[in-house]
């Protein structure tokens, strides 16, 4: 909760003022029945018309004060909760953006998104609720008890019986109800699971004609959900009438006891009416409190999850004055680099790798899936830091440089194509904000994307993603390449980013690169030997180890792994 001190400092005062108004509001509510009882007991009983009118006026006055308080409280609480929520969300977003991948990897991506959206909302709703009803409910409850007891201590005996019973019911309701709803949630998940599987596997189901099986599976889950839901709802439906009945029985008891007392002239009728009114108020507030508990549990869990993210400390460090003023532009050196995930505690992914990419060189990296190719290039922009050994860019140890400076001079086309909602133009320009239309088009041409972009009705204004044209996988990859090229980087990293592009197009892209981007250091991860065979140098990785380095011809001669890959791709032709 220490994390929230900042917000308490900022909004604490307004928050307290709003609580003050809330209290005022509650007091006004609580005064009503008492004033009412005076009208009946004094005004009506003594047939004093003036008293009736003046007390009635007082009642309206109190109501008006209550309304003003409520309005103020509304303004203040909205101000606090909305601004607090917005700021918390913004802070969390900045935090996430500032974390290194080592930190981010500790969380599931989907869970980070949930934390930013759902969890922040939960906390915000709770803060808002606190200023609206959550504080008011206990106030009204306690206030109601005090007022009622003061009004008539004898009748308060009824309260002493009713309130604990209602409290017990509310407790049982939560205690018993919660596991029931957990079960409902589980069966619901199962129903959704069957549905989701069916939707993704629809071709397989159709191909194998397994409709009956699927319907059976679904019916089973559906049936279970129905049973669980019915029993949960039924269990819950016991409590509400039970609580109601308890309070109503209390009212009957008050009437009976009060009636007997009034008979003997010990009690005034107005008191009895007021007393029943207080009972209803107390009941309402008790039910609100049970809601508060629910909300609190949820908000607490959310606050905890948000706190976890804030608690992450960025492990990546660098020297403030560190710069890339080394020798050679775009030179990359790996010196005895080893790497493992989970802060160096995981299984080793790279083992003692040493090689250099000279400025302007094209270096291919090849190896089977899981051999460490992506991890290797991830060390260059400092997505991760090497566990052992040193990675140098322009001769400078990357750990001494601000990742921002480092990333400024390189462009990466990731394995998984990521495009953002917006137009084609916006997506390409993402690589370089100030790029001119000409630069952008040139990049698109080099990436062999210009033609298909032009063929869409809206050209460069065509929308990507939701509500836009669905480009094919290969087209998206080409857009992603264009985005990298528009940056005019010194180092270009292509992480298997032409896998969905056909060979002819890939060749054209490589030719364009050779022509326009001279002096560019290019790292090329690929599955296909044809993609890397004309590189200046090919690095062969196998289970995290560098098992070969050289040109295509030399590797064919003496690298066993490379030969195997080659064989597998050329098929039987060579035999």
């Amino acid at each position: 909760m220490r994390l929230y001190t900042k917000y308490i400092k900022k909004y604490g005062v307004v928050f307290c003022v709003s609580l003050f108004f809330l209290t005022l509001e509650a007091v006004c509510d609580l005064l009503q029945p008492t004033i009412m009882s005076r009208i009946v007991d004094v005004g009506v009983a003594q047939r004093d018309l003036n008293y009736v009118l003046s007390t009635g006026g007082l009642m309206l006055g109190v109501t008006a004060i209550g309304a003003v308080a409520a309005t103020m409280r509304n303004l203040l609480s909205t101000y606090v909760s909305q601004n607090f929520g917005a700021q918390l969300r913004s802070d969390l977003f900045k935090k996430v953006q500032s974390l290194s991948f080592e930190n981010i990897d500790r969380f599931d991506r989907a869970s980070l998104v949930t934390r930013l959206t759902n969890d922040v909302n939960q906390v915000q709703v709770f803060v808002n609720g606190m200023m609206r009803i959550f504080v008011k409910a206990p106030l009204t409850c306690i206030g109601g008890l005090i007022m009622a007891t003061q009004l008539n201590p004898r009748l308060a005996v009824v309260l002493a019986v009713v309130v604990p019973i209602v409290g017990l019911f509310i407790y049982l309701n939560m205690k018993i109800g919660f596991p029931f709803f957990m079960k409902v949630q589980q069966s619901l998940d199962r129903v959704n699971g069957v549905m989701r599987e069916y939707l993704s596997g629809v071709r397989v189901v159709k191909a194998f004609n397994r409709f009956d099986f699927e319907v059976d599976k679904f019916s089973h889950a559906n049936e279970e959900l129905q049973t669980k839901s019915i029993s949960a709802t039924r269990v819950m439906s016991i409590f509400s009438p039970a609580i109601m009945l308890t309070v109503n029985l209390g009212i009957v008891a008050v009437l009976w006891m009060g009636g007997l007392a009034a008979e003997q002239g010990d009690m005034q009728v107005g008191h009895i009416i007021a007393f029943t009114n207080y009972m209803t108020q107390i009941l309402f507030s008790l039910m609100m409190i049970s809601m508060v508990f629910n909300m609190f549990v949820r908000a607490k869990a959310s606050a905890g999850r948000i706190g976890e993210v804030f608690a992450e400390e960025n492990r990546m460090t660098w020297k403030e004055q560190g710069s890339l003023q080394g020798d050679g532009k775009g030179r990359i050196d790996f010196e005895h680099v080893s790497f493992s995930y989970e802060g160096g505690h995981g299984e080793s992914v790279l083992k003692d790798i040493t090689f250099s990419c000279l400025p302007g060189e094209t270096v291919g990296i090849i190896g089977s899936t899981g051999s460490g190719k992506s991890s290797l290039v991830g060390l260059i922009p400092r997505f991760y830091d090497a566990t052992k050994g040193t990675v140098r860019v322009d001769g400078v140890d990357v750990r001494e440089v601000d990742p921002k400076l480092l990333r400024e001079k390189m462009a990466i086309v990731p394995q998984k194509t990521v495009l953002f909602t917006g137009t084609v133009k916006e997506n390409i320009r993402w690589g370089k904000d100030e790029a001119t239309d000409e630069e952008m088009e040139l990049a698109a041409r080099m990436a062999q994307a210009h033609d298909f972009i032009e063929r869409t009705p809206d050209g460069y204004q065509a929308r990507v993603g939701q509500g836009g044209i669905n480009f094919s996988g290969g087209q998206k990859q080409r857009l992603s390449i264009a985005r990298a090229l528009v940056r005019k980087p010194e180092i270009l990293i292509l992480d298997d980013s032409t896998s969905a592009v056909d060979v002819a197009t890939e060749t054209k892209i490589k030719e364009a690169l050779r022509e326009y981007a001279q002096g560019l250091t290019c790292l090329l991860i690929a599955q296909r030997i044809t993609s890397v065979m004309d590189a200046d140098k090919i690095v062969v990785l196998d289970q995290g180890e560098l098992v070969g380095i050289g040109t295509h011809e030399s590797l064919l001669k003496d690298c066993r792994v490379y030969q195997e890959i080659f064989q597998s791709q050329i098929g039987k032709e060579v035999q």
């Binding site: 109501t63 008006a64 913004s90 319907v215 049970s290 921002k404 990466i412």
Partner: protein, 613 residues
């Protein structure tokens, strides 16, 4: 539930009904309210028999609740009435006691019954929705995001359930309460009734104007929230790219813009809707005060008794509460109907056409396939395949190559009737494929696709998917043939290993081997391999290639691949481009032709071959 509860919590119309069903987002209005309501009514089906009973309970309960304030008033009068009233007090209090107990019992019974009714209706809706999905053509699934369909199954049906279980009874009892309270109030004291009614138009006008304004604001807020969530989703899941391009600052800036706007709209919506509660409170209290004062005056003048004031106060509250709630109930009802509408939309989708009346069952076909002038397009003017004709002999292998989007997959989709041809005819063993039952036609095919689909369940269950009655020995034989037994035997639970959704705990290659084993076990006569090995690295591919060769033997096979080495042994290679077959022949003849295929092959292999020599 809804993410943000900006609206004030809905107070139950009477304490005790439905603790804390929170606020909901903006209401989505159904397009055809009446029509959908009528269909929903049909969906009640069997449950209609129970409804009269429920309504009877609601009615009796409402009447009981109406009598309570009257009895309270009577007992107050009995207290003030002087001598010989103790008996009267006893009678009224006893009556009150009985009516409260009855009320409790009836409420319980009603909740009990409604739980069953609404859940059964919803279960049946879900069931018919799922069964409908079985009958829909593949095109339906291809054209819709799965998330959207999922939300129809969950959120929408949830809304239907809520609206059935809550609104129906509430609407009934609310209406009875309003009318009943009004009648009772008039009987008790017409003058007080008029005094009390002063607040009604106020309440009505206020809720209407505020609700109208806030619903727009809440809608905007929801849109803004959607935008923000979209932005978060994109930037967090694509954070590699954000970071690689040094875009943290820009992303944050964009985020702040949307966030600030959300905060602004949210504040306006909140403040406006927040006014509703205190203002209603004031109006209610005003009514309370007016009744007290006027009642006091009347009582002083001896025109009414104190008991009447006491009853009146209760009635006025019973009168106003459901009035306030009606708007809310209507919202729940509306989103329920909107949900039902979206469910019905799916139920109304065009199903796969029925088999022709005298459709034949295809069993063990030889596998002779002919495409005769086949064209296909989703829209007649946008043909994806144009006038395609070819013949594949039984047991032969036909390969389809060409750029993505050329129509290769469409060819096999037509062959298996995932889609039906727009014009032309496809023959299998000399008969139009539309003359066979769709079931038996598809059963003759085995599929190995790029994205293998595995279901959550054990490995054994997954292999047996195509032949549920297979013995363990058969399963193991199939796995062995598919080169899958090696890795399966290495797993601690072997064939009983539980797979997570879509086999997430296996590698891509292992999943593919399982898919192949599944096909082997099903023993289809024809085989379709659609980019079966393209997402697997080439060394793993070698294992799979062997397995594939095993199953292709003796079966008519259609192979789609963009790695050309996988298809060079095919009997016929067809180059498809922009929906047309541009070249056709064996590998050797196509190379000799020096056409498109030659070009493709040249690109991929020439250098490799040269270096091999």
């Amino acid at each position: 539930m809804s993410q943000q509860s900006q609206q004030p919590p809905v107070f139950p119309s009477r304490p005790g009904r439905g603790i804390g069903h929170g606020a909901r987002g903006p209401v989505v209005k159904p397009k055809n309210f009446k029509g959908t309501l009528r269909r929903l009514w049909q969906a009640f089906d069997q449950e209609k028999r129970m409804l009269p009973l429920v309504f009877l309970i609601v009615l009796v309960d409402a009447l009981l609740m109406l009598s309570a304030p009257y009895l309270i008033g009577k007992s107050v009068d009995a207290m003030t009435g002087g001598e010989a009233t103790l008996g009267l007090l006893g009678v009224t209090v006893l009556a009150l006691l009985i009516s409260y107990i009855l009320d409790g019992a009836l409420t319980l019974l009603q909740g009990w019954l409604m739980a069953g009714i609404s859940q059964r209706i919803v279960k049946n809706l879900r069931k018919s929705l799922f069964e409908k999905l079985q009958k829909l053509p593949v095109a339906f699934f291809d054209s819709r995001p799965h998330g959207e369909l999922m939300s129809r199954l969950t959120n929408d049906i949830d809304n239907v359930s809520n609206s059935i279980s809550q609104s129906t009874a509430q609407l009934m009892s609310g209406a009875i309460m309003i009318v009943g309270s009004l009648v009772m109030m008039l009987i008790l004291s017409p003058i007080l009734t008029i005094a009390c009614m002063i607040t009604v138009p106020l309440v009505y006008l206020l809720t209407r104007t505020i609700a109208k304004k806030t619903s727009v604001l809440f809608k905007n807020q929801q849109i803004q929230l959607g935008k923000l969530n979209g932005h978060i989703e994109e930037t967090v899941s694509g954070i590699e790219v954000v970071k690689a391009f040094n875009h943290e600052h820009k992303a944050t800036q964009e985020f702040d813009e949307i966030n600030t706007e959300l905060c602004r709209i949210g504040m306006r919506a909140q403040i406006l809707s927040g006014f509703l509660m205190p203002i209603m409170n004031v109006i209610n209290n005003l009514g309370f005060a007016v009744v007290a004062v006027v009642g006091g005056v009347l009582a002083v003048k001896g025109m009414i008794t104190v008991g009447v004031i006491a009853s009146f106060l209760s009635y006025s509250r019973q009168f106003v509460r459901p009035l306030n709630d009606l708007g809310n109930i209507f919202n729940v009802l509306q989103s329920g109907v909107a949900g039902a509408e979206r469910v019905f939309e799916v139920l109304d989708e065009q199903e796969e056409p029925e088999d022709v009346p005298d459709a034949k069952t295809l069993s063990q076909p030889k596998g002779h396939v002919v495409f005769e002038n086949v064209s296909f397009g989703y829209k007649p003017d946008q043909l994806i395949l144009k006038n395609v004709s070819f013949e594949s002999e039984a047991g032969s292998t036909t390969a389809l190559v060409g750029p993505t989007g050329a129509g290769k997959t469409t060819v096999v989709n037509l062959l298996t009737r995932f889609y039906d041809v727009t014009s032309g005819t496809i023959y299998l063993d000399g008969k139009d494929i539309r003359e066979y039952t769709r079931d038996s036609l598809r059963r003759s095919f085995g599929f190995v696709l790029q994205d293998t689909y595995l279901f959550s369940g054990t490995i054994k269950e997954n292999i047996k998917y195509g032949k549920p009655d297979a013995s363990d020995a058969e399963v193991e034989a199939a796995a062995a043939m598919a080169n899958a037994s090696v890795f399966i035997n290495r797993l601690p639970k072997r064939y009983d290993t539980q797979l997570t959704e879509n086999g997430g705990n296996l590698s891509q290659g292992q999943r593919q081997l399982l898919a192949i084993a599944r096909v082997i076990l099903a023993k289809p006569s024809l085989l379709i391999l659609d980019e079966a090995t393209s997402s697997i690295d080439t060394r793993t591919e070698l294992h799979i290639q062997d397995a594939l060769l095993t199953i292709m033997e003796g079966r008519t096979s259609f192979v789609i691949a963009h790695r050309l080495n996988t298809i060079r042994d095919a009997d016929t290679i067809m180059v498809v481009d922009r929906g047309e077959i541009v070249e056709k022949g064996s590998h050797e003849s196509l190379i000799e032709q020096q056409g498109v295929y030659h070009q493709l092959f040249f690109n991929q292999f020439k250098n490799l071959q040269a270096s091999a020599e």
